[in-house]
Amino acid sequence: MPGRIASFFRNLLRKRAVDQALDDELQSAVELLTQEKMKEGLSHPEARRQALIELGGVEQVKEEVRAIRLGMFLDTFAQDLRYALRMLRKSPGFTIVAVLTLALGLGVNATVFSIVNGILFRGIPTPVSPSGMVSFGFAYKGYQGFTSSYLDLQDMRQQAGGLVDLFAYEMGTDGLTVGDHTDRIVTNYVTGNYFDVLGIKPALGRLIAPGEGQPDGYDPMIVLSYSYWQSRFGANPSIIGTSVRLNGKPMTVVGVAQKGFQGSYRFIHAQAFLPLNAIEGAKYLWTSRRVRRLCVLGRLRPGVPLARADAAVKVIASRLALEHPKDDPDARAWLLSAKLTGISPTGLEPQDVPQVLLIYALGLAFALLVLLVACFTLANLLLARATARQQEMAVRAALGAGTGRLLKQALAETGLLAGLGCAAGLMLGFWALRFLESIPINVVFGLSPDFGFDDHVFLYAAGAAILAVFLAGVTPALRASRSNPCDALRDGAQGVIGGRSRFRKVLVTAQIAASVVLLVAAGMAIRSLITAKYTKLGFNPSHLFNITMDPSEAGYDQAHGTELYKSLLPRIRALPGVQSAALAYTYPSNWNFSYPVQPENRPIPPGQVAPNIDMNAVSPGYFQTMQIPILRGRQFLETDTAKSTQVAIVNEKLAHQLWPNENPLGKRFSIFGPTEPWIDVVGVAADSTYAEVSKTPKPYFYLPATEFYIPYETLLVRTEGSPETMIGTVEAQVRALAPIVPVWGAQTMRQTLDSSVGGFLASRLSAIMAVTVGLLALALAIAGVYGVVSHDVGRRRHEMGIRVALGASSWKIQRIIFRQGLAILVAGLFFGNLSALGLAAVTEHVLEGFGAPEPLTYVGVAILISAATLVALYIPARRAMKVDPMVALRYE
């Protein structure tokens, strides 16, 4: 029988080898026949001819043999499958539980893997071949972020052009006005070779050509993305050649990019592309090496290995550092395969790669742990079932079915289970991903997360399913097929497999251990969410909401913008239900600008640079609206304008950092080097939280918005009643005042915090996921304990009956059962906590302190698992207690 399994693989995997053997066989037949004929006196050619005639056409014979082989294989396969289907239908309870178990394990895996896959393995989302795509990173002393200046890029292109074809873009958001409606869109300002190197073709019209976007020109043209062209212009082809306004400036629509191309970010979809020289006010972009605004990507020239291009780029960077020590101190550059850089093509340094990979690996390990728990449960189910079906198997073995045949049959059953579980798991994963994608995420650029399934995910799910079946199915199958049919038949109901249930106990122990690990992780996630939520924010997020707008995107100049904001605030403040309102450039949990801050009369020691301090530009009323106390000095006033002396408010941290033990009021600092204009400190605000609300407060300063015009402003409104009801009214006021100006992000401050990366988003997501997964694992483990113990009770009915008959009290019987379960529990807790501590040590290192020792979490998890296990034990124990000795003994 093993020969049949061998031929199964031979047919399937070694088709060529089989064909070769068939060829040889027929060839040797021809030779044998020829020799035979020659012995009869024919000449060699004639004998050979006769031989071929007798054989009746070699090809035809081959065809027939092949058809027979395939038919045989399909026959047995279909038979096994039919039989497996019948067996599964016969016990629907088992089937449902087994499929669900697998579905949970595989669902979690499909979800996690889709995310990792979506972020990590898809590279730059181009409809054409991504091969050879690289991301170019540039860094220098005292600067984070890997963007490049135009001049540095030009040097790179000239010197490394033979190895790698570099192109660049700047991403931005702009207002695109057609008629009197402005859309806020994501744009890419690109070098002329952008489309060329990416290999994008126009769907309509033309794209930006290599000669365009040069420093000395101005090419007011725009290329639309295919999907934006469809959604905004109804796929109207006559849009080509017409004029639209971008931030108020006329641009000619020259073309539509290839369908499916949305720019080089996976989750941020660009709606339009413009030449680099269409950027507004970009004078320094072309002339200063310090203006580093360009994200750089490239494609390796054919046949050039990444390592060689990378080495060249590094050399050129060190040369730039020597030639321009002031502009590019300690400049470094590198190339990374664009496949690795994930969602942000230019946001990774080579030395960070292992760490990033480790984070994803931890996520996958987490998911695989759930799969493992599911496998244990499934293995237990299958073992219990194998015990129940022992007689059937024994009869079949006695009737002549070989080990291989039984093994194959058992595998067909588990294979079918795996198929069903895999399908159900993918469905679960699909829902989970839709749910995750629907979670609002608040960032500057609208996110379009897309964790869709692709070949990778299907392969992974199939691989995980096969692994699961192998882990869960082989042992029971082997045990079943190895057991001696004589023993099984003689012993009758008393299982032989069940008699060796030590293996099942080990499985359940491992299950408990795994769920300890997962629950500890869940506990830590909850703790970190709670910690984050209860951090002292330093401002009051209740009764507060925010709306953002940018009149410059509708073409407003500074005068018009200032006027709009000037008339807006009094209108909003006058609305009934509004307590106070303010404008601010940014708000907590959102990103910040930072400036090098240099206090007056404190020269920076040579070799050091002025520290970059985060800041905000706010209107009068900001501190009142946010409820941030002013500790000393005053708030900003309407009289703090561009015409008056420049003033600032610093927080306690900054005051302490710049002027320790001195009165900061009246002190001056500059943000443009140790020169004028000096800025007077007029107030000290209490520390609060800024870009990352779960971090401890950083040094921070505020400038008056009236003195420091930024067109992009967020309107913050504190309401008397619930903020939700006021949002519509306020938004309508803004629109009434400036119908053409794009307005977005209207939500309460609590919603903003919950959906922002700088807020509680990450803690919330990880808590949701960890708790779901942890509880799933717990449910599976408890089902496992219950299964093993209750199966054991069933098997030991006679024993219990005898014990009761011999005078054992029901309490004593119960104790026997509990003792068995408790041993499993204690061992599981021990190994589980050990592994959890080990893993926590790793995560603490990788995930910024996540996993720091929290005795409470460990104790809580232990209590939870013990309680659940005791409940799972109680039911079979009661059953054992109630065994009627007469019934149990008569049963034999």
Binding site: D24, S28, E31, L32, E36
Partner: protein
């Protein structure tokens, strides 16, 4: 394995092949020659049906194969009856004599 056995001729061929192999392992041409021999020249099995049958028997586990040198030192693929092949031969022989008995009785009853 409940194979339908409506095709009398194929059944006959299987029986003949099993019978031919009962004595000693043979290669394909040898099987054909042996059948001719034991049927006293009455059956000339075509290779077009012989090889597929041999391969089917191999799949079913009735015969095992082995490559070795033939009588005149050529490499050839030899088929050898397995124990389940022998069991099959017994069954087929029994079936066949039943068929013969029934058919004889039927024909002679006229």
């Amino acid at each position: 394995m409940g194979k339908k056995r409506t095709d009398l001729l194929r059944g006959t061929l299987d029986l003949l092949i099993l019978k031919a192999l009962a004595l000693e392992p043979l290669h394909g041409v040898g099987v054909s020659r042996r059948i001719t021999q034991i049927t006293r020249g009455a059956f000339q099995v075509s290779f077009g049906s012989l090889f597929p049958s041999l391969h089917r028997m191999e799949e079913k586990g009735w015969v095992e194969v082995e490559w070795r040198a033939s009588e005149n030192n050529r490499r050839a693929k030899y088929y050898r009856l397995t124990s389940s092949g022998r069991a099959q031969l017994k069954t087929e022989e029994r079936d066949w004599s039943q068929v013969v008995q029934i058919m004889t009785a039927a024909v002679e009853s006229a």
